[in-house]
Symmetry: C2
Subunit: 292 residues, 2 copies
Amino acid sequence: MRNLTEHNITEAVLNTLNSDNARLNQILTGLVKHLHAFVREVELTEEEWLAAIQFLTRTGQMCDDERQEFILLSDTLGASILVDAINNRKDEAATPSTVLGPFHREGAAEVEHQHNIAGEGTAGEPVIVSGRVTAPNGEPIAGALLDIWQASAEGFYDIQDESQPEMNLRCKLRTDERGRFAFRTIKPSSYPIPDDGPVGDMLRALNRHPYRPAHVHFIITAEGYEPVVTHIFVDGDPYLDSDAVFGVKSALIAEFVRHDSAEEAEQYGVAAPFFTVRYNFVLQPRDRRDTS
Amino acid sequence: MRNLTEHNITEAVLNTLNSDNARLNQILTGLVKHLHAFVREVELTEEEWLAAIQFLTRTGQMCDDERQEFILLSDTLGASILVDAINNRKDEAATPSTVLGPFHREGAAEVEHQHNIAGEGTAGEPVIVSGRVTAPNGEPIAGALLDIWQASAEGFYDIQDESQPEMNLRCKLRTDERGRFAFRTIKPSSYPIPDDGPVGDMLRALNRHPYRPAHVHFIITAEGYEPVVTHIFVDGDPYLDSDAVFGVKSALIAEFVRHDSAEEAEQYGVAAPFFTVRYNFVLQPRDRRDTS
C-alpha cells in the first residue's frame, strides 16, 4: 500500500475495511466508493476540500441539546426523506410516512381526549383535531398511541422558545375502543427551519427559501402494526409545493375548516373563529408489508 | 414538488440547486447524486442514518483549535490523498505530493541553515537534514521557501503536547544560491493519529491501526514553480506499507544514515549516535504542468 494514485486509491481503501461486522463493511464500502466517485467527478480542488471540511465542522459545532444541524443538512439535501421512503415501503392504502425532523422530544405526557396541548399563554387560533386510527380494511385500532408535537403560531417549537411552557404543544394520546382520538391545539403556521447556521448559508447560496408548510407531527404505534412517523399538513399553505425538506405528500394534507359562529365556538369552550380538522390514519399491518 | 418517492426524490432535489455560482451547483449536483446513490445502494436503515448523524455530530464537536477530526476522517477514508492526487498531477521527475494532515501551523519563524528546530528539552536522536531544491533539469532553485514541521520522538506535535516549547519542531528555511538547505532536528517516530474520538472508534471497528510511519512535513514554494506539500519518510519504518492515511510514496522515503563515531558527532556539535539524511526536492515548473 504505497504509491497510491487517483487510479488505485479507492481499491486500497476498500481493502482496509475489515470489520467483524459485515454490515459495517458493506456500508463503508458504499460510502468510500461514492465519496471517491464524487471527488473524482467534480475534481474537487484543495480549497473546495478545505471549505467542505470547515462547513462540516461548523455543522457539528452548531449542534447542541436543542439544535441538530446535521439532521437539517440531511433534510435539506433530501437524504432524510429518501431514507424514510426506503424504510417505509407500504401499501397504497396506508398513511404515508414523512420526515421525523429534529424537534421530536421523548417524554411527552399521555393526556385525555379533548386535552388542549397549547399551554398557558400560547397565542393562536383554536383547532379541534379528531379522527380515527384504523387498519387498511377500516377496522378500528383500539389503544394505538399517538405521539404528537407541533410548533407555535409563531413557528417555534418549545425548545426554541423560552416563552413557551415546558413540553408545550406536545402530548401522547391513546385511541378509544372505536379507534378514535381527539385533542385541541392552535393552528400551526408555516415556518423557516433554523437558518442562522451553515445549512441556512447553504440554502441562501442556492437561492432556496428555508420554509416548511404548516404541519402537526405524529408518531403512531400500535401492536401488530408498523409504526408511522408522519405529519398532517394544513391545506392551502403557500409552501406545500416547495417544502425545504421535501416532506409533503398529498395524502397528508388536511382541510382545517374555519368556523365563525360564536355559538358553535361556545359548545367547544373556545372563542370564534376556530377550526376543526378530521384526519384518519391507516396503519400497515406487520408482516404483510409489500416490499416490492 | 409533492409525493416524492425513492424514485423521484433525487431529481426533485437537483431541481432546487439554483445558485448564481455555477461551480457550487456542479459540486452539489455531484454530492446529491452520490449521497442518494449511496443511501439507495446500501439501503440505509433509519437506525443507521441516526448513527451516521450522531457520528458526524461527534466528529464536528471533537474539533477545536488543536484538533481537526474531519481532516482525520477525510485522511483515513482516503479522500485527502485522492484530492491531493487530482490537484497535483505532475511529471514523474517532480517530487510527489502527499497529505497536508491536520497539524500544519502558520507563522513558523524563518531560520538560518543548520538551525536546530528541536527546542530546549526536546528528547531524541539528533538528525542533520540537508539537500537541494532543483528544477526537473537539475538546475538549482535559489530562494525557495521550505515550511517544515514534524512530531517529537514521542510522536506528538507541539500543539498536542504542553511540555514542548511554543512552535517546537517547526521552521521556515530558504535555499541558498545553489539551491541548498540544511537544518537540525531529532529523529521522528511513527505515531498514532489521535484516536480517542470518532475516527479512532471507526478505525477500531474496522480492525485498522491508527499509525503513520515516521516523517517530516514540508511545504515548498518558489516563484515560477508549483508549490509542493509533501513529507520525507524514514526508511525502514514498520508502517510504510500500512499508513493510516494512505500517504506513503516510495520516492519520498529517505535513508536516515546512522553515525556512531563520537569524533564525527563532535564536528557537528551533537552527541553520538546521530543521523544524517540527504533529500533533493524537484519542483514542477508552473504552466508546464502535465495534466494528462
